[in-house]
Amino acid sequence: MIVLNGQQSDLRAGETVAAILARLDLPLDARGVAVAVDGEVLPRAQWASFALAEHAHVEVLTAMQGG
């Protein structure tokens, strides 16, 4: 079980961030997107390779109006 943006998901351990982005309709080269895994930045270069652990908390963030 992986927690995606605060929601329990049916994603399993071993999935990559790339798979998560695909689920969100986001390409790997999406502009203005950042990913945090368990409170740390996951650099774009690792999105396709980094395998998520069981119970990982993934935050997929983008630009929003503000400030």
Binding site: L26, L61, M64, G67
Partner: protein
């Protein structure tokens, strides 16, 4: 007007607020051009920064950006919402503006630092408008957490623009740490209360050597003009524009106000006096006969 009453008092702050001392005011004012603002090596022709929050639509935001003439706009970082996809990034890119990501919503140094790192990853910029909020109702900054976050982000190589209170000591501490500018509030975010302590804003301008950007509290154009007259190097307006009845018209008003205030500051205003000073000489006054 209350602001600047201290200008009749002979202190270094009053002289600075008058724009007649301190050597900070350029000799050739904005009217001649060449009055650009430089922050951390980046040159900005517009001294108005725009917050993108609160605009009812992206189309209106784009129009307001054009009317404001701004070159730097803030953006926040939030969870991707698969349902709502109108691309803010595309709109801002088309508008040709640079992004200043913020850490809005962060209450601890840890969260603010992580958010800044995520923003750097998302937007490929080292610039960060650092906000660390200490109170939900007033959205006032949490000074100890702000300093902690600023120190860490400066160490990480960020160009840090902290949203701070109008406390001259805190502003100087932030500048001493290595922040590229300081962004004191005029009054609480979105309050439209204007500049509640113009004396402190003038003091901050006097006490730090980095640019001072008045952030938060601007309600209407005269507030922005006052900020510039007090010596601020730029003004950031968000709600004052985005929540105005006609945001595009208000964006144009803010643009004109910032230019007018900057011109007035560099022109050097006259001191305030309690009594009149005749502007017409008495010499040559005719004798019009007995009453």
């Amino acid at each position: 007007m209350m602001a600047g009453m201290h200008e009749t008092i002979d202190t270094p702050a009053s002289a600075a607020a008058n724009g007649v001392a301190g050597g900070a005011a350029p000799a050739s004012p904005a009217v001649a051009g060449g009055d650009e603002l430089t922050i951390a090596g980046r040159t900005l022709r517009s001294r108005l920064l725009l917050g993108t929050g609160g605009f009812p639509s992206l189309a209106l935001l784009a129009e307001a950006i054009a009317a404001s003439g701004c070159e730097l706009v803030t953006v926040a970082l939030r969870r991707v919402d698969p349902a709502a996809r109108g691309s803010l990034i595309d709109v801002l890119s088309d508008a040709g503006v640079e992004l200043l990501p913020n850490t809005a919503g962060c209450h601890t140094a840890r969260d603010a630092v992580l958010t800044a790192r995520l923003a750097r990853e998302a937007f490929a910029t080292d610039w960060i408008k650092l906000e660390v909020i200490g109170d939900e109702d007033t959205l006032l900054p949490d000074a100890p957490e702000l300093l902690r976050a600023a120190e860490q982000l400066v160490d990480d190589g960020f160009v840090v623009l902290p949203y701070t209170t109008d406390d001259p000591v805190l502003a100087r501490r932030l500048a001493d740490i290595g922040c590229a500018a300081v962004m004191p509030l005029g009054s609480p975010i979105g309050s439209g209360m204007g500049i509640r302590n113009p004396y402190n804003i003038a003091l901050i301008r006097e006490r730090v050597s980095v640019p001072v950007v008045l952030d938060a509290g601007i309600g209407t154009a005269s507030d922005a003009a006052l900020a510039m007259e007090l010596g601020c190097d730029a003004v950031l307006a968000a709600s004052a524009i985005s929540r105005a009845q006609d945001p595009v018209r208000m964006a144009a008003a803010m643009r004109a106000a910032v230019q007018a205030g900057r011109l007035a500051r560099t022109a050097g205003r006259i001191p305030r006096r309690l009594y009149a000073t005749a502007s017409t000489p008495d010499e040559g006054l005719p004798d019009l006969g007995p009453v």
